[in-house]
């Protein structure tokens, strides 16, 4: 094997999955922090949303990198899944996976598909209207009837209990995906040393706290719409 072609090897592909996952996990944390302001201080949420939506650095550098990371993580996930399936052309009549591994670890493709379906909904809900307002209509002001439009738009979406339930289901699956994925990413990067136990504990906290944060936000926003 030549020195080149790290990402052509099975291990290189694992590394690529891990690196894109790490980037997405950092993004998720940042997204959660901004969303938390929506339930703590709508004004701050409006300010932050306006900054994120109009800053050229965010719009034309961070956003394309993020979209690339998301698409890459999914495409590579599917490529690996197909390759892995082809490695066992005849399946077992009886396969007791629960005897030696967790459900999360064996069903990353399933939780991943649910997250992908959620992202489609999320893009239809927020990203596409946002792109339309800013770059097609050409309204970069972020204002509507003399006020910032971001918080009212957010609230309008969470008035639907069906959407709230869909979001909650997706975040539960995200938690399951992360519960395996966090530790798995570090293992794929070759990090299995004295820090791994601490990292895995942090991973469990992260994997539960972050999706739970999003779930709480969705519920609080829904309750807010009921009261307004």
């Amino acid at each position: 094997m030549s020195k080149s072609g790290l990402f052509k090897s099975s291990i290189g592909r694992k590394l690529a999955m891990a690196l894109s996952a790490l980037f997405l996990m950092i993004f998720l944390l940042q997204h959660l922090v901004i969303n938390l302001t929506a339930v703590i201080s709508p004004d701050t949420f409006n300010e932050l949303s306006h900054f994120m939506g109009t800053s050229p650095l965010v719009q034309f550098i961070a956003q394309p990198i993020l979209i690339f990371a998301v698409v890459f993580h999914f495409v590579m996930g599917f490529v690996l899944e197909l390759k892995n399936r082809s490695a066992r052309p005849v399946s077992y009549t009886k396969f007791n996976g629960a005897a030696n591994s967790t459900w999360m670890s064996r069903n990353m493709i399933l939780s991943g598909l649910v997250i992908l379906a959620f992202l489609v909904l999320h893009f239809i809900d927020f990203w596409i209207p946002e792109i339309n307002t800013k770059y097609i209509v050409g309204d970069m002001s972020g204002m509507h009837h003399g006020e910032y439009r971001y918080y009212p738009e957010l609230l309008a979406k969470f008035a639907s209990p069906i959407r709230v339930v869909a979001y909650i289901v997706a975040f539960v699956l995200l938690a399951l995906h992360l519960l395996h994925g966090f530790g798995s990413a570090f293992q794929s990067m070759g990090q299995n040393n004295k820090y791994i136990d601490g990292l895995k504990k942090f991973g469990v906290i992260y994997s539960i706290a972050v999706p739970l944060g999003f779930i709480i936000i969705a519920i609080v926003l829904y309750v807010t719409t009921l009261n307004s």
């Binding site: 290189g12 892995n84 009549t93 395996h180 299995n192």
Partner: protein
């Protein structure tokens, strides 16, 4: 004990194969699983039927020859053992036991429960060795100092018997636990460090070429390994490959 056995029967590599049901009675709980199959085969031979082909050799958990996927797990429902070390007392009277070959594209079936694990040999041949001059001037291995911790980890990795349970247990039929054990046993020792970069690249390339799946870090291999080979070895192999691939050529 009276048992119902559902066993994979396949005449040869080209045959489609199917599960066939057998009844077996008067099984002693003290028999090993392979002895139980011996009894079944004696019965089949006495009835002029083709005995079930299965792999076995030392029957004391050392050689790694016995395989079998029993009730959905390689080497059956017990941890840290090979099939020859599995006893019938792990089962109950009246049980139905599924017996299948280790399944992977890289382990083609030869007959019934016998699979060709030659892929492991080819991976070994691609790099699991150290190049030493054996002309008679070989340095005494004990004269090279090795830190105790490294020696212990290398020894643990070297206890891999190449049985293939890791591949059989993995949902992806990945051979990474086996390959990483072999990579580690050399990478940890001074004699193996010299060729470490080339070794890991060659062995991983051979592993990929044989058609094994990728690693999803489920840990099924570690849980089913009769020798308790640790996932730490896979992390070490990943590290070794990333290091070798990103190293600047001099």
């Amino acid at each position: 004990m009276n048992l119902t056995l559902k066993i994979w029967r396949q005449k040869n590599a080209n045959d489609k194969g199917k599960m066939v049901e057998y009844q077996i009675s008067d099984v002693s709980p003290d028999m090993s699983f392979l002895e139980m199959l011996d009894v079944l085969n004696e019965d089949l031979i006495s009835k002029d039927e083709e005995p079930v082909a299965f792999d076995h050799d030392c029957r004391e958990g050392i050689c790694g020859m016995c395989s079998l996927h029993i009730n959905g797990e390689p080497h059956g429902p017990d941890k840290g053992i090979t099939t020859c070390q599995l006893h019938m007392r792990k089962f109950n009277d009246g049980d139905t036991i599924y017996i299948e070959p280790f399944r992977a594209k890289a382990f083609p079936i030869i007959k019934d429960l016998v699979v060709d694990r030659g892929a492991f040999d080819r991976i070994q041949q691609s790099g699991a060795y150290v190049s030493v001059n054996t002309s008679g001037n070989t340095q005494d291995a004990n004269s090279i100092p090795v830190p105790k911790e490294d020696a212990d980890m290398a020894f643990d990795a070297a206890t891999c018997i190449g049985c293939g349970a890791c591949v059989a247990a993995c949902k992806n039929s990945s051979a990474m636990l086996f390959v990483s054990a072999k990579v580690s046993q050399y990478a940890l020792l001074p004699q193996g460090k010299v060729e470490a970069k080339q070794r890991v690249q060659d062995m991983v390339a051979q592993m990929d070429a044989e058609g094994f799946g990728n690693c999803s870090n489920t840990g099924a291999c570690e849980a089913e390994c009769p020798k308790g080979i640790s996932l730490e070895n896979i992390a070490r192999m990943n590290r070794e490959l990333i290091k070798a691939k990103t190293a600047v050529k001099h």
